[in-house]
């Protein structure tokens, strides 16, 4: 049976692939018999380069880990260094960080709207949501100076305070987004063809959740209420009031509903943050970065990104260079073993949709 199967190389040059990776499919007709991922097209060896940078220079490498969602990585690095060096950051910095993280989450989910619908052939959705994502990037640009790469949440707080009138801008953008989300629902979730394409497709069985380390929207789409923001609250998430949406079904449709609800929760969180944000300092002074020696030790911090749990293991040996930095990405476990596990038996038309709904992010896998 395997002998008659034809091999199809999906990627690296393929419009349906999220990021620069390859999936080698053996198909019989339209049904996939076996799948084998091949990654490594984006390997830049960050963790090797950080052995040659000092503690502040390696911070600028951080946001390059996962391009669609850069802020959780910066947050991880800042918190790792702070916990190694026992830096206490002011309250206002924590609130600003939470606001930036949630804005980044909204931007990521809008990017996901585009990818999911583009993989299903509904290109109008992609045009709309990426056009609206740019308004969030404008907020980032005014706040940090960069559209995609921010380098904003550095060890010791954030790099600069909120500009004048920034709060009103954020609120206007959120109001606009809430209006647009209704249109998205009408175009996407109320669409019978979209439901036909997604319901029951890309099913992640319950028994493979533990052994594959499934996290994030995929886990919540399987009906398990797990989120790093409530499991071990990291900035001021324990003072905020928000829900963790879950769905039964564990297919693309369930994950889509989870992400749809997460955007609304993020908007709610940002509103609370802007209300409760205290006055005061936004940064604690860090020692001179040229000769900043972080005391020896190791730590592991985790954060919840739009694709799930991202963790960061940092080791310092008391020198001006980091000893070892190791990122744990959500896509690192989703896009390789889990994808190879659930692809056989699926239709070849659904591969890119499944990859999008698993939150595949190729640069995060290879780092």
């Amino acid at each position: 049976m395997r002998e008659k199967a034809t091999t199809i190389y999906l990627g690296p040059q393929h419009p349906g692939i999220t990021g620069n990776m390859m999936v080698r499919l053996k198909v019989m007709g339209d049904t996939i018999v076996s799948a084998q991922t091949e990654v490594g097209y984006l390997h830049r060896a960050f963790e090797k380069l950080q052995e040659r940078r000092n503690w502040l220079n390696s911070f600028t490498l951080m946001c390059r880990f996962c391009v669609p969602e850069t802020d959780p990585m910066e947050n991880l690095y800042a918190r790792a260094v702070e916990s190694l060096d026992n830096i206490e950051i002011p309250e206002r910095a924590k609130y600003i960080r939470v606001m930036v993280l949630e804005l980044a989450r909204i931007a990521t989910q809008l990017m996901w709207y585009a990818g999911q619908n583009g993989s299903l052939g509904l290109y109008t959705m992609g045009q709309w949501s990426i056009g609206d994502r740019d308004y969030i990037l404008d907020l980032f640009e005014q706040l940090t100076g960069g559209r995609v790469y921010h380098m904003y949440q550095w060890p010791g707080g954030v790099r600069r305070d909120l500009p004048k009138g920034f709060k009103d801008k954020v609120l206007n953008t959120l109001d606009y987004l809430e209006k647009r989300l209704k249109d998205y629902d009408d175009l996407m979730f109320a669409n019978s063809i979209f439901q036909k394409r997604t319901q029951g497709v890309g099913y992640v069985p319950k028994e493979s959740i533990i052994e594959h380390g499934v996290v994030g929207p995929v886990l919540r789409g399987a009906g398990i209420r797990s989120d790093i923001r409530i499991d071990e609250p990291y900035e001021v998430y324990d003072k905020l009031d928000f829900e963790i949406p879950t769905q039964e079904g564990s297919d693309i449709w369930a994950r889509a509903l989870v992400r749809r609800a997460e955007v609304r929760q993020s908007i709610r969180i940002i509103r609370q943050v802007l209300d409760q944000m205290p006055k005061g300092e936004f940064n604690t002074k860090i020692p001179n970065p040229m000769k900043w020696r972080v005391p020896a030790g190791d730590t592991y911090v985790r954060a919840e990104s739009g694709r799930g749990e991202v963790g960061y293991y940092a080791v310092s040996d008391g020198s001006i260079h980091p000893r070892r930095m190791h990122l744990r990405g959500a896509a690192y476990v989703h896009a390789i073993t889990l994808l190879e596990n659930i692809l056989p038996g699926q239709n070849i038309a659904d591969v890119s949709a499944i990859m999008n709904s698993l939150g595949t992010c190729a640069p995060e896998i290879e780092r």
């Binding site: 490594g40 090797k48 594959h212 040229m290 190791d298 293991y313 000893r323 070892r324 073993t337 889990l338």
Partner: protein, 181 residues
């Protein structure tokens, strides 16, 4: 929790930390039994991370398994050291399938051998015939100079600090002198 683990594995050495962190050091042969016991009995269901450090001074590799217990909300760090000369490690991808990916990366980046692991040879690198790149004795800049080209900079490119001192007459601190060109 510490007592439970101690009862099961008396030889495990633990290190005290505050917060929700448990820290154990286990010999490498006991790793699969230890991990499966943690997963099945003590509820550390989620393998969060497998990190690896190259301690070239002690001539050892360190592998850190980080588990997470959803109901107790506890992080468990399991350190183990293996020899750097002939690195061989136990395969655990029958406990957590995702460990297969981590082990492929370790095999490629440090050259650690996992005897009974089923996986393709190449993970990230392709046709790599140098020493495994994440060992600390692999000098990446030297490799770059040997393999690629650097674009020559402009001759009139000034060092930023010198330009600033020329303009404003400020003093360069001593520590910064050794960084300036």
């Amino acid at each position: 929790m510490i007592a439970k683990i101690k009862a099961a594995f008396p030889e495990a050495v633990n290190k005290a930390y505050d917060g929700n962190r448990l820290d154990f050091t286990v010999h490498k042969d006991a790793i699969p039994g230890f991990l499966s016991h943690m997963k099945e009995q003590l509820g550390f269901r989620h393998l969060s991370h497998i990190a690896y450090v190259d301690w070239i001074e002690e001539n050892e590799f360190e592998i850190v398994y980080i588990l997470w217990s959803p109901q107790d909300k506890v992080k468990l760090f399991i350190h183990t050291r293996i020899d750097r000369e002939n690195p061989v490690m136990e395969n655990i991808d029958m406990i957590w399938r995702q460990a297969n990916t981590y082990q492929r990366e370790m095999k490629e980046m440090l050259g650690i051998q996992f005897p009974d692991m089923v996986a393709p040879d190449e993970f990230i690198l392709e046709d790599w015939d140098d020493i495994p790149p994440f060992r600390r004795d692999f000098d990446t800049l030297e490799y770059v100079n040997r393999t690629f080209w650097h674009r020559p900079g402009r001759e009139d490119a000034q060092d930023v600090r010198e330009t600033i001192t020329k303009r404003s007459g400020e003093e360069i601190p001593d520590f910064a002198k050794k960084y300036s060109r």
